[in-house]
């Protein structure tokens, strides 16, 4: 069960990963997209950190809503409304129960992006993890890696269709960072 402090350190760890892999995320986005995923996420997470640092939140839903709004308004790419909706739906859960949060986030992402598994998007990381009662960093890595062989049928990568095979999906990778950061906080 996450509390507000847990969520803050979750975001802090996630932000570290995003900033550290800023270039790598944009590189992943170059052959199958527009090369901005690292920039988008870095900008969005800067806004999140600014919005939550030194601020008191009454409860977990309140901090989730603030995170959601920062991502929605600052990311600028498809991943903005997707991550934004994920956090918005997590806010609706009402508390910090991880086994309820992840399915809520997944449902939000699927609703927003109208994607199913196997379409080479972040859904392919969220889905297998949200369906597990317990997950490991290895589960996450495997889910991220599995997007490599998929043919993109949603998002910008779908324009290059079969040519997307052989490349890891950038949103899957950033989602992997988010889920592994959660693992560290839960430990």
């Amino acid at each position: 069960m996450l509390d507000v402090e847990n969520v803050k350190s979750w975001m802090t760890k996630f932000n570290e990963q995003i900033q550290a892999h800023h270039d790598y995320l944009s590189e992943l986005d170059t052959p199958i997209g527009d090369g901005d995923h690292g920039n988008n996420m870095a900008r969005g997470m800067n806004a999140v950190m600014e919005a939550i640092a030194d601020k008191d939140f009454t409860d977990v839903p309140a901090i989730f809503k603030t995170i959601a709004m920062s991502l929605i308004s600052k990311v600028g790419g498809a991943s903005g409304p997707l991550y934004g909706t994920a956090f918005m739906e997590m806010a609706k859960v009402g508390d910090g129960e991880v086994s309820a949060l992840l399915p809520a986030a997944l449902a939000g992402i699927k609703k927003r992006g109208k994607a199913e598994t196997g379409e080479k998007t972040m859904v392919d990381v969220w889905a297998p993890i949200a369906e597990k009662t317990d997950f490991t960093a290895d589960d996450v890595d495997k889910a991220v890696e599995a997007t490599k062989d998929m043919i993109a049928t949603k998002g910008r990568a779908s324009y290059v269709g079969e040519r997307s095979v052989g490349h890891i999906d950038p949103g899957a990778m950033s989602s992997g960072y988010l889920l592994k950061a959660l693992l560290e906080v839960e430990e």
């Binding site: 901005d36 600028g76 790419g77 498809a78 409304p81 927003r112 998002g155």
Partner: protein, 122 residues
């Protein structure tokens, strides 16, 4: 006018240019735009889309967009506004032009939509 048009594009120039193109044939149709990010970069921004809804003097809006990620932000904006907004998965420039030209001559919305159907590309 009852109906207005909203143009959402990843690039501010596209949004501005489409407005210029359609205003030529639809002087009385309210057209508002949300193009690019606040800092001028390429992307779409839900807040700017909501602003385009608010700035439009019509209460019922037809919204057109370029790429799928604009659609997601549009859908979020639609969830948050009081205006009646309908989005169309149609060719951006061509359908905005068609809709504006038809609205200008007070075509019934059903007939406008019938014409837009042929322009569905996404």
């Amino acid at each position: 006018m009852e109906y207005g048009v909203v143009i959402v594009s990843h690039v501010s120039e596209i949004a501005q240019g489409v407005k210029r193109l359609i205003e030529q044939v639809a002087k009385d149709v309210p057209v508002t735009i949300a193009g690019g990010l606040e800092n001028g970069d390429v992307g779409t921004d839900m807040q700017r889309i909501i602003q385009a809804f608010e700035d439009n003097s019509a209460t019922k809006l037809l919204a057109f967009y370029d790429l799928g990620s604009a659609k997601m932000n549009l859908e979020m904006a639609i969830e948050m506004t009081d205006k009646e907004v309908k989005l169309y998965d149609t060719a951006l420039v061509e359908s905005a032009y068609t809709a504006a030209a038809l609205l200008q001559v007070e075509t019934k919305i059903e007939d406008v939509e019938a014409q837009l159907k042929d322009l569905k590309v996404k």
